[in-house]
């Protein structure tokens, strides 16, 4: 057992996919010209009054429902005061003592263990603007992002390894994408993660002093940074030192941790209730209405794939990794009841094409119906699996009934055993040397014969029949 164990909690910020900002009607689009999506409210002009975006509230409730949270009947906004040029009002409108959701949990699998990670709270808040540091000794401010709606999802310190942190983040992202409430693009900053890390002697009940890690811009970096921080803390303790509470920045290029500020410099946010925004009340009627709008979530869907389609656990995991892929599979499953074959085709051929061409599932042109038909054509022996793979690229390109392509190219599988036997006889006759080898016990030569026969038939002979008939004929020669 390790001498020390890490204790990790994550704070995850997700930008919400609303049309407009949290408290004003400015567009929430990423990448527009600087300072074009701004108005007196998000610029913090005196006298302007904010108004709550209903969609933001609904999205926050949906995330709460998806993570087993209690949806609080009453929640309210608060001002978190700090002075920084990316926030012209001088405070961030956030939630403090009355968040919209609390006490939830997520189940994750890490190293084959099912683990329950408690969620302390989910609250709504607004994003700050963007600072650009140029060479002139000034900083430039773009306030397009200022006021973008965010939810902050705060876990309890239940994560026990960097890998668990990675799995937890992946699960959160998967759910956010299923709900279609955030695009979770870490590079564009629509999903951000801070980690609270401490270590203690294994088995200890009390918590060690924690540090807060920021600026990790990918899941892999979150894992790496936490690992580094754990090692750093253990080194300090082993050398007889003490951990001090501080905020640290991860430098992804150098893979190093830098000190941002210590506790003495920590912010004093002076939270107080936001007098310009009235409380939010979520009654059962509204909550149930939102619940009915929610899609099946990954865990439920995975179980369904296992029970209904009888697929192996691995298949269920892959197929439900995104809602789009799961939808695709289920549509195809309406047109062919060979679910395992559909699963194989989706996991291998479809995903290969999508990944190679950098597409999303929604951009994949072959309809699930035509994939289902293709599988049925293999199963009723109209074509071989090999032919199906050969025409797959063209099938994707044209997205038509696969039977049309097969007829155009004359690729219908030959199941007629008389015809196949004729080819076998020809091949045997012209390859006497290999026949001798086979009769002498060299079974491997069988593959050579099959290859020759398939070539003769232009790939159309039913491979299973070829195998059977060939073995029959050769074994007759043995006697």
């Amino acid at each position: 057992m390790n001498k020390y164990e890490p204790v990790i909690g994550l704070e995850v910020h997700a930008q919400l996919l609303t049309e407009t900002k949290a408290f004003c009607g400015c567009s929430n689009k990423f990448g527009d010209q600087p300072n074009t999506n701004v108005c007196p409210i998000c610029l913090g002009h005196p006298g302007s009054l904010p108004k709550i975006n209903k969609k933001m509230v609904e999205f926050a409730v949906m995330m709460g429902l998806a993570t087993n949270c209690k949806i609080n009947f009453k929640s309210s906004f608060a001002r978190k005061n700090y002075f920084y040029p990316d926030l012209p009002k001088g405070w961030q409108t956030s939630q403090f003592d009355e968040p919209i959701c609390s006490n939830g949990f997520l189940e994750i699998t890490a190293d084959n263990n099912l683990r329950t990670i408690r969620i302390n709270r989910i609250h709504m808040e607004e994003d700050a603007g963007k600072l650009i540091h140029d060479e002139t000794g000034f900083s430039l401010v773009d306030l397009n992002r200022c006021g973008t709606p965010l939810i902050e999802i705060v876990s309890e310190p239940d994560l026990q390894s960097p890998h668990e942190a990675f799995q937890y983040l992946s699960k959160l992202k998967q759910i956010l994408l299923y709900l279609n409430i955030s695009d979770c693009n870490m590079e564009e900053g629509s999903l951000r993660c801070d980690a609270n890390v401490s270590v203690r002697l294994t088995g200890d009940k009390s918590l060690g002093v924690k540090t807060e890690l920021k600026n990790m811009n990918s899941f892999k970096n979150v894992e790496k940074a936490i690992q580094k921080e754990i090692e750093r803390q253990i080194d300090i303790i082993e050398e007889g030192g003490k951990i001090i509470q501080q905020t640290l920045l991860w430098d992804a290029d150098k893979e190093e941790i830098k000190i941002m500020r210590t506790k003495e410099e920590a912010h004093d946010y002076r939270y107080f209730p936001e007098p310009d925004l009235l409380p939010v009340i979520i009654d059962d009627v509204w909550k149930n209405e939102l619940m009915s709008k929610m899609p099946e979530l990954p865990d439920v869907r995975r179980k369904k794939f296992s029970n209904l389609y009888k697929l192996p656990e691995y298949d269920c995991e892959i197929l439900t990794s995104t809602k789009e892929l799961a939808d695709y599979f289920e549509s195809a499953a309406k047109h062919s009841d060979d679910f395992k074959s559909i699963s194989n085709w989706v996991m291998v051929e479809v995903l290969k094409f999508i990944n190679e061409n950098n597409l999303s599932v929604n951009q994949f042109r072959l309809s699930p119906i035509n994939l289902g038909k293709l599988i049925n054509l293999i199963n009723d022996k109209t074509i071989s699996n090999k032919i199906a793979k050969d025409i797959f690229a063209e099938l994707i390109e044209r997205n038509i009934d696969p039977l049309i392509i097969i007829k155009e190219k004359g690729l219908t599988q030959i199941n007629d055993s008389k015809f196949i036997e004729e080819i076998i006889d020809r091949v045997i006759k012209s390859n006497q040397e290999q026949v001798k080898q086979y009769l002498a016990g060299k079974d491997k030569v069988l593959g050579f014969f099959v290859g020759q026969i398939m070539k003769e038939s232009k790939g159309k002979a039913n491979p299973q029949s070829v195998n059977e008939l060939l073995i029959n004929k050769l074994s007759l020669m043995k006697n």
Binding site: P34, T36, C39, I52
Partner: protein, 94 residues
């Protein structure tokens, strides 16, 4: 005296104000006077009264998620002490 000079210094720092020694002394006295006056409110019994955070009653005042035209950039940048064509310009922040 609930407010000492250290607290005044801290508040000044958070407010980005630089105070002279004289001002620090003066504001310490004034802030204490204000707080002492407010202290009178504590003599009123409020045990069974709910905290009031808002001047008006009500809840769930929302807007629909529909875009309302923003103001144009020129108007947004007009009042800034320093600017470029596209951005607000501020002293270098790290």
């Amino acid at each position: 005296m609930p407010v000492n000079r250290e607290i005044v210094k801290h508040i000044a720092k958070l407010s980005k104000l630089s105070l002279t020694d004289f001002e620090e002394e003066k504001f310490t006295l004034e802030l204490n006077k204000i707080l002492e006056y407010m202290e009178k409110l504590n003599s009123i019994k409020t045990d069974n009264i709910e905290t009031m955070s808002y001047p008006v009653d009500g809840f769930n005042v929302f807007r629909e998620d529909e875009i309302v035209n923003s103001i144009d950039r020129e108007a947004a940048l007009k009042n800034a002490p320093q600017r470029t064509d596209e951005f607000f310009k501020v002293p270098k922040i790290l």
